[in-house]
Amino acid sequence: MDAILFLLFAAIAVACGINLVVQTHPISSAISLIGVMGALAVLYLLLGAEFMAAAQMIVYAGAIMVLFVFVIMLLNAGAEKKRNTATFAKIFGVPALVGFLGLVSFLIQKEMLPRTDHVKFGGFVDKDGKALGTAEAVGNALFTQYLLPFEVTSILILIAILGAVVLARKEI
């Protein structure tokens, strides 16, 4: 069941990712990106990281992408015109892709990629079998082990907010 769901949503994520690049209209691309993020949230859920899944939906698929869509609508951006592809891409595009995929499959076969034994469906637990993906566990980690990075990030965001306010004030 887990494997089927994983394959389904991984396929959706990849399909949306390809669609994001192929589409010419910015709105279609933005919607595809939402699709990628939603599918990723399901993958987080499959791994047992519930809080991450919810945060992914609220922050990325919700807040950030709404802003993207909002700006695209506000600017009323139309579809891109198809131009002739660059000669460089014409010549080297397909060989480079084949080479890259070959390299990846070679690495997988030789087991030279980072080991993934500890990644299990719903098995995001510590040594004692306590779940690490719940809101409680994430909160605990943020306010004890990772307090400094957390505070530094919040100050960074505060600076960004202040910058936005200063920039906006000039206009008024």
Binding site: I27, F51, A61, V66, L67, V69, A135
Partner: protein
């Protein structure tokens, strides 16, 4: 396998009840609004217009669905589907009552008890703006686009105070599961004042409730915050170009969202299914209310006005139904399941009534007022409220 069957049955039941409720909410809204404005409201279809929702449904289904020429077809068709689907999903984590036993099978009166229940509702409400935004954009109409833009801006802005306001009950309950939050509010102070979070130590929870309620009005695009569909500025806003079932989908989504958010407010602040008075008394109140309504109807059925001849039949019939319902609440087997359901429904219904009441009372905001209200008043107020609550919770421990 058993799990799937039970869940499918429950999902079907919840969807049916919810959609019927949404349809009748429209009838109740029209009735209440009419009485606020000294009219009588729907009256022709069925006794007291009770079959009006059915008539509306038939009308909407049989009308021609017009698709304008220059729309973006894919998103134009996707948008109403998205709106109604997301609205229906978020009800799945809301519990309606305690554990019940049906044919020897124990089950909770909810579809799914996930331990991130509240976050799930927030996530879905964050995504549900796309239905409106895409619908307005794909219609290729300036009014629709303006409605969609207003709606996105409004929903992003009001989501902040709403999320912050609902953190304070979470702080006090120390869980994200809505069932546990509701159970944490059981009990009474001096066996008079219920321990609902709205009454809890000291005032800030009432403020949180108010902030949540105001933001909820904006999130569901209701008067006084219905700028996305302000009919005297934007024709009908984001759903101007939708007819037939497309329009019906947006309409249903709005009412289902109202029900969901009222249920959420009930769980977070009004004690979920916990009765407002101590137990032996609380068990008789539903029966008393229904019996009272029944006798009221019998009384009025006897002396109905000559122009309303139907009342002679319909009033006693409904009186009989109410008597039966009131008696059911005293059956010992059903009492445990129905009691919580009644209180939960009553509180949710009260908030829904509040929606209609406000619609009949307040005029619409201007868009800049709406924005400055959210960012300059509601957001700082919710932050201060959260700080105070956090301090109180920290001092208690």
């Amino acid at each position: 396998m058993e799990f799937f069957i039970i869940t499918a049955i429950k999902a079907g039941l919840v969807a049916f009840v919810l959609l019927t409720l949404a349809a009748y909410l429209v009838w109740i809204e029209r009735k209440v609004l009419a009485h606020i404005q000294l009219r009588i409201g729907p009256y022709r279809v069925g006794p007291h217009g009770l079959l009006q929702p059915l008539a509306d449904l038939i009308k909407l289904v049989t009308k021609e669905g017009v698709m304008p020429a220059e729309v973006n077809k894919f998103y134009y068709l996707l948008a109403p589907f998205l709106a109604v689907a997301l609205a229906l999903v978020s009800i799945s984590v809301i519990p309606f009552g305690r554990q019940i036993e049906v044919f020897g099978y124990k089950t909770y009166m909810e579809l799914a008890d996930v331990n991130i229940g509240l976050l799930l509702i927030l996530a879905i409400s964050a995504v549900s703006v796309y239905g409106i935004a895409l619908g307005g954009w794909a219609s290729n109409n300036k009014y629709s686009l303006l409605g969609a833009l207003r709606s996105s801006a409004q929903m992003i802005s009001y989501e902040l105070p709403m999320s912050i306001a609902l953190v304070s009950p979470l702080l006090m309950a120390n869980t994200l599961s809505l069932r546990e939050i509701a159970e944490a509010q059981a009990g009474f102070y001096f066996s008079v004042i219920p321990k609902w979070y709205i009454f809890q130590a000291p005032a800030p929870q009432f403020i949180a409730f108010l902030i949540f309620l105001i933001a909820a009005f904006a999130e569901t695009n209701r008067i006084p915050f219905d700028l996305p569909e302000a009919e005297n500025e934007l024709v009908a806003g984001f759903h101007t170009e939708y007819s037939s079932m497309g329009f019906a989908a947006f309409f249903t989504a709005e009412y289902v969202n109202m029900v969901t958010i009222s249920a959420l407010a009930t769980h977070l602040f009004l004690g979920g299914w916990n009765p407002p008075v101590v137990e032996p008394v609380a068990g008789f109140i539903p029966t008393l209310i229904f019996f009272g309504a029944a006798f009221f109807l019998f009384f009025h059925g006897r002396q109905s006005v000559a122009t309303r001849t139907w009342d002679r039949f319909t009033f006693p019939v409904f009186g009989g139904v109410f008597l039966g319902v009131g008696a059911v609440f005293q059956v010992p087997m059903l009492k445990e399941a129905l009691g919580p359901l009644f209180w939960f429904g009553a509180k949710t219904g009260f908030i829904l009534f509040l929606y209609i009441w406000v619609r009949g009372t307040l005029p619409r905001f201007r868009f800049d007022q709406l924005m400055s209200f959210a960012w300059k008043f509601l957001f700082p107020a919710s932050l201060v409220q959260l700080l105070v609550t956090g301090l109180v919770v920290a001092l208690k421990e």
